[in-house]
């Protein structure tokens, strides 16, 4: 989550920590109670809702408290393909974002070092997309890739795209949108860890290994790993729950729906709250498992 600490460095002072549980409690209590009430309890509500049964009244959108694990079975059976697709899209987009972002982060963090003005400008460019609505950007891509747009026409005319096929509505378009939207989330944490990288280590590395490629893989990349981990999590997690890019009104089509779209449809269109909740609970569980495995394997415990 390092990207938010942008430009503040990560210098850990060896500050003696005050030992006053009382003051700490006063400082922590409001925020933690807030999170308890509006983050933790909702997760419990989600689990409770996911086990509700259809109301005896038969009114759409009404459910009774109960214990119906069948909701989970139904969700898996009915929406298995969308779940798999979500993780597939998320994985692809994360890898693409990593490949695209790393050189940028490297350039800003290492090559542009000592040129604070250039660095500041480039960083501003990286975060610039954050400042224009994510939906407007995605919609812009939709227009750029629309069937009558020059890009589609061009691709069709050179035969790269069959004349009866289009870009919008395909998996390509959705993954493209997801990758584009989350590149800054990948670039910033990698930049932060590369920025702290001691260039002398790289120099020492090239002294010892001679080949720049080897130096990169043996020295630079391992040292930037915390940023890579942070970045991949920051990218993968929101992508796996996104439903804007895959929406039919944006870049998606008939067979691009992701978990988010399923939850949205179940929640807003058919008011099947138990199924929507069961899917959310499963998504949350999958993410928690993934994150903990990932973090344990790569040994970065301090995510904050």
């Amino acid at each position: 989550m390092a990207f938010v600490a942008l430009g503040q460095g990560g210098a850990k002072s060896s500050a003696p920590v005050k030992n006053s549980s009382k003051v700490a409690f006063i400082l922590l209590a409001p925020g933690m109670i807030y999170l308890g009430l509006f983050f933790l309890t909702p997760l419990v509500s989600l689990v409770i809702t996911s086990l509700k049964t259809a109301s005896m009244t038969g009114v759409i959108g009404m459910y009774d408290y109960g214990f119906e694990p069948g909701n989970y079975a139904y969700a898996i059976e009915q929406y298995g393909p969308q779940v798999i697709r979500s993780f597939g899209y998320a994985l692809t987009a994360t890898v693409l974002a990593l490949v695209i972002s790393y050189p940028i982060a490297y350039f800003i963090g290492v090559k542009a070092r000592g040129k604070p003005v250039l660095q500041a400008l480039l960083l501003t460019l990286v975060i610039a997309p954050f400042f224009i609505s994510f939906l407007l950007r995605t919609f812009a891509w939709k227009q750029i890739f629309s069937n009558e747009a020059p890009i589609t026409q061009f691709l069709q005319s050179i035969g790269l795209l069959p004349s009866d096929q289009y870009i919008i509505g395909t998996s390509f378009a959705v993954i493209f949108g997801l990758t584009y939207n989350f590149i800054p989330f990948m670039t910033l944490p990698i930049y932060t860890s590369l920025e702290r990288l001691d260039v002398r280590l790289v120099e020492a590395g090239s002294d010892l290994y001679a080949s720049p490629a080897k130096t990169f893989w043996k020295v630079t990349f391992p040292l930037s790993l915390p940023g890579v981990i942070s970045g991949t999590l920051l990218t993968f997690i929101p992508i796996s729950g996104d439903y804007v890019n895959a929406s039919r009104d944006f870049l998606g089509g008939s067979d691009t729906a992701m978990i988010g779209n399923v939850v949205e449809a179940n929640y807003f269109r058919i008011q099947d709250y138990p199924t929507a909740s069961a899917l959310s609970v499963m998504l949350m569980a999958a993410i928690v498992i993934l994150v903990s495995v990932y973090v344990r394997r790569s040994g970065t415990e301090d995510l904050l």
Partner: protein, 410 residues
């Protein structure tokens, strides 16, 4: 599973009533509200909480918030709203006109909490589609209007809309526009692709020449209704429109999607796909055709009722329990039941007007439009137009789920 008459005596009675209503085609297809409302009311009665109308502040607060569909108000394209502005000038009531309803389900999802609590849901009057109106009536979310404040409505409401079992005086919901579902197509591109002038049946839409160039409106009752009709199902009849028939139609559409015949299934944005050429034909709504033509500035699109029949539904004014401006809303409804205003509105939105005398008014200003069967349907056209039968709560849940799962793809 073939569905016979329900076991429950009350339900049985209601179904019999509903069938009796179908004796007059016209009455049945337009008098949608009552029977459906009765059915859903019966099925959900235990859950309905007793809500009371909010205090009416209309005398002191001359304001009104109106949730409506896009492309549903004259002058909308340039924000001038001539009829609405005239209403504001005449009555001094400031109307905040919001195009909030893009889809019945998503709009309902937004406002249902407030509706259930009888709190202010952010609007004083809205025009959802009849099946959703039925649900809202059944749940007791709506205020009863006062006919005394709506003399125009009493005088000019098309008689076909009267006589509902649950709302005989149409005081819980008042029709705004009727909607016919059919095939919208791009005249030039259709001709180029198929060599024919216009599609005549749904089979034409599924023709290989249109592969990947077909759109579908995401409104279940229209898209599936048209499909069911093309498969010989009587969508007004519970014995014909069974769950099996419904699922077969869903499977049929799913096959069209997976074969790539259907480009996309969307809400109102199908219009965009038509204007930018993504699709050539769509199963969609009559009124949009004229508006799309206006938007592109030429007579590019046409609308046909398929030979197997079209669907029809209506959108109605409703006032939620939480509204504090009922009288203002009634004034608005009364205003739009003035044939002059109704004609002016119909000339723009091109849907089926429920106001008697509007056609006569329009003959004075725009005879060509007045003879447009999509606005003032002929008996002949109406004989081939069908209303989707009312669904019970459980049915609605299952049908809607099947339809949504189709939309979500495999």
């Amino acid at each position: 599973m073939k569905r016979g008459l329900p076991e429950d005596p009350m339900m049985r009675q209601l179904v019999i009533m509903a069938r009796e209503k179908m004796i007059s085609r016209r009455a049945a297809l337009l008098g949608l509200g009552g029977t459906a409302a009765a059915l859903s009311l019966a099925s959900c009665a235990p859950a309905a909480t007793t809500l009371t109308p909010a205090e009416d502040l209309s005398d002191s607060e001359k304001i009104l918030v109106w949730h409506n569909w896009p492309l549903y108000m004259d002058g909308e394209d340039d924000g001038s709203y001539p009829t609405l502005n005239r209403f504001m000038d005449q009555t001094g009531i400031k109307v905040e006109y919001m195009m909030e309803i893009d889809d019945n389900d998503t709009w309902y999802a937004k406002v249902k909490d407030q509706l259930a609590l009888g709190a202010d849901p952010g609007f004083d009057v809205a025009c959802p589609t009849n099946w959703l109106v039925d649900r809202m009536i059944g749940l007791g979310y709506l205020q009863t209007m006062d006919n005394a404040n709506m003399p125009n409505k009493v005088a000019n409401l098309e008689s076909a809309y009267l006589g509902n079992a649950n709302d005989p005086d149409r005081v819980l919901s008042v029709p705004y526009q009727g909607i016919i579902g059919g095939i919208v197509y791009n005249k030039k591109m259709y001709k180029e692709a198929t060599g024919k002038d216009a599609p005549t049946s749904l089979a034409d839409v599924w023709a290989p020449e249109l592969k990947g160039r077909v759109g579908l409106i995401s409104e279940m009752r229209d898209s599936l209704g048209l499909t069911l009709l093309s498969q010989g199902v009587d969508i007004t009849d519970p014995n014909s429109l069974t769950e099996d028939a419904f699922n077969a139609a869903v499977d049929f559409i799913a096959a069209q999607v997976s074969s790539g015949q259907i480009f996309n299934i969307k809400g109102n944005s199908y219009g965009e796909d038509l204007t930018n050429g993504n699709i050539i034909a769509a199963l969609a709504w009559s009124g949009d055709t004229t508006i799309l033509n206006f938007e592109v500035g030429e007579d590019r699109f046409g609308f046909v009722v398929p030979d197997t029949g079209s669907t029809i539904s209506s959108d109605s004014f409703v006032i939620p329990m939480g509204s504090q401006h009922k009288k203002n809303a009634e004034a608005l409804i009364n205003y739009y039941y003035d044939p002059v205003n109704a004609a002016e509105l119909a000339a723009y939105v091109n849907y089926v007007t429920p106001v008697v005398g509007a056609k006569e008014e329009m003959l004075k200003t725009d005879p060509e439009l007045a003879n447009n069967p999509l606005i003032f349907p002929t008996e002949e056209l109406l004989s081939n137009v069908h209303a989707f039968r009312p669904l019970t709560g459980q049915e609605e849940q299952r049908f809607a789920t099947a339809w949504q799962n189709l939309l979500l793809g495999a």
